[in-house]
Amino acid sequence: MREEVVIGLEIHIQLMTKAKMFCHCSTDYIGKEPNTNTCPVCLGLPGSLPVLNKKVLEFAIRTAVALNCEINQVSRFHRKNYFYPDLPKAYQISQYDSPLGASGYMEISLPENKEKRRIRITRVHLEEDAGKLIHEGDIASSSYSLVDYNRCGIPLAEIVTEPDFRSPEEARIFLVKLRSIVQHLGVCDGNMEEGSMRCDANVSLRDAKSSTLGTKAEIKNMNSFKAVKKALQFEVDRQKKLLAEGIEIIQETRHWDESKSVTILMRSKEEAHDYRYFPEPDLLPLKVDLKMVEEIRRSLPELPEARRERFIKNYQIPEYDAEILTSSKALGDFYEKAASLYSHSKVLSNWIMGELMRYLNENKVEIEDSPISPEKLVGMLKLIDEGIVSGKMAKGIFEKMFKTGKDASKIVKESGITQITDKNELFAVIDIVIKENPRSVEDFSEGKEKALHYLVGQVMHYTKGRAKPGFVFEALKQRIKKI
């Protein structure tokens, strides 16, 4: 029975250098007028020669070292030949039989059984990005494509894993962690939607007792973590269904269609490319100085795993919270900034992981662009601590802060939504509630604690959440006792 899922990933990350890989054009290409970010080198004009950007090499080594790879002291560039208009040279400069880094690994932890899994990294190599094709109007009916070479020559590190994933969820967990690592390394911003981090996957099924792999399908065009999980699950199900019907899997490349939630055939193996790799004659072999590698290894910044442990230790928050807060560099930075201003670190993580992340996700805003800064969040939490607003009111204030970017204190002042501190005003409401709910009052007198909670709720309702629940609770108890 072939039911063991086998998945391997190939991830491309755009390295955040200032200049492109082999020329001095800017890497800042998004949103630029087409073909304004190119030069003879990245356009592949005759007579131009590529020269490797030092920073590209440094960033790639940093990535490979962080993924526990061995660095090849001599690696080579190859030409990968294929005809497609996104490549003006008709070949891509890549690495083939001697990649920069090889034989690494990364550990992931699976939340459901606390198991740690070691995912082997086959290789980390350098290659240049290609241009972009734009289809005007309807793809099916349009007879031409438009080409923009601004992205040509953007440096990429390709990270290839061994087929070590046993489920789509494992692959997703790996990607989230990899993104956090490259963000902490400062080599890539890890934005899957914008394509600065891209992922292809090989999926196959095999008999759990067998060590040979089944025929695989390659899945492309997955533009978010969610899409990766959905696409891989679809593919696993598709293959299981075919095998159950006695149909063999064919090696092919499939395209994930996000809007229809299906994978579609792009090309079968018969049409697959023969890239005719050969050593790039325009670039000399890449000799890496071991001293440079050691220097990079020593100066590696704190990585997500170490940061998570530090969060648990320094802020006394649960492992679960620390894991989420270090799942992206910017989120960890946000938390640390806020925690430096506010000592209730668990209250802080609750608000960040709850309200803040919910609003960010709903509005598709990245944490870097959050209208609520760490300072503003802390300002609001202090209003709760001072008894000026209740926790419940704070949620409404939080929403206004998110929409307007204003300080909590300003919102409170403008709308007058402070907590009721006037006791007489509260007693008046409490008396009304007691009068209107004789049944609950009776229940409570007979010892039903739950009835009191209901009455507190009624007071909160009347005051639109502006009463302090603790005070109302005690006040109700005393009033009812007196009856």
Binding site: E33, P40, V51, R76, P85, S145, L286, K287
Partner: protein, 97 residues
């Protein structure tokens, strides 16, 4: 008579990869030509290369590296200057799916 290293099938395969089309006569001709070229290169086998490293590059010098500095790119009109088919700042090509 030269030994057949390259068959007609291989000529057809390479032609397909290079997006070239040949008639039967041409295919035969190229098969024979490629074989005689390879046959000529066999002369190299007479050399003793036991102690010679495989050579992909003939000059031995360290790789040169650029500083990570941005310099101006070409203006768009110069980039597009040599192309016959241009639209809204893009190169225009036949649709390829």
């Amino acid at each position: 008579m030269t030994e057949k290293i390259i068959t007609k099938k291989e000529v057809e395969y390479v032609a397909k990869l290079a997006k070239l089309e040949f008639n039967e006569e041409e295919k035969e001709e190229f098969t024979s030509q490629l074989n005689s070229i390879l046959d000529y290169f066999k002369k190299l086998n007479e050399l003793d290369t036991e102690r010679v490293e495989p050579t992909a590059y003939v000059i031995s010098m360290p790789n040169l590296l650029n500083e990570d500095k941005v310099k101006p790119s070409l203006p768009q009109d110069e980039v597009l200057f040599n192309s016959k088919y241009v639209k809204k700042g893009y190169f225009k090509v036949p649709k390829i799916m």
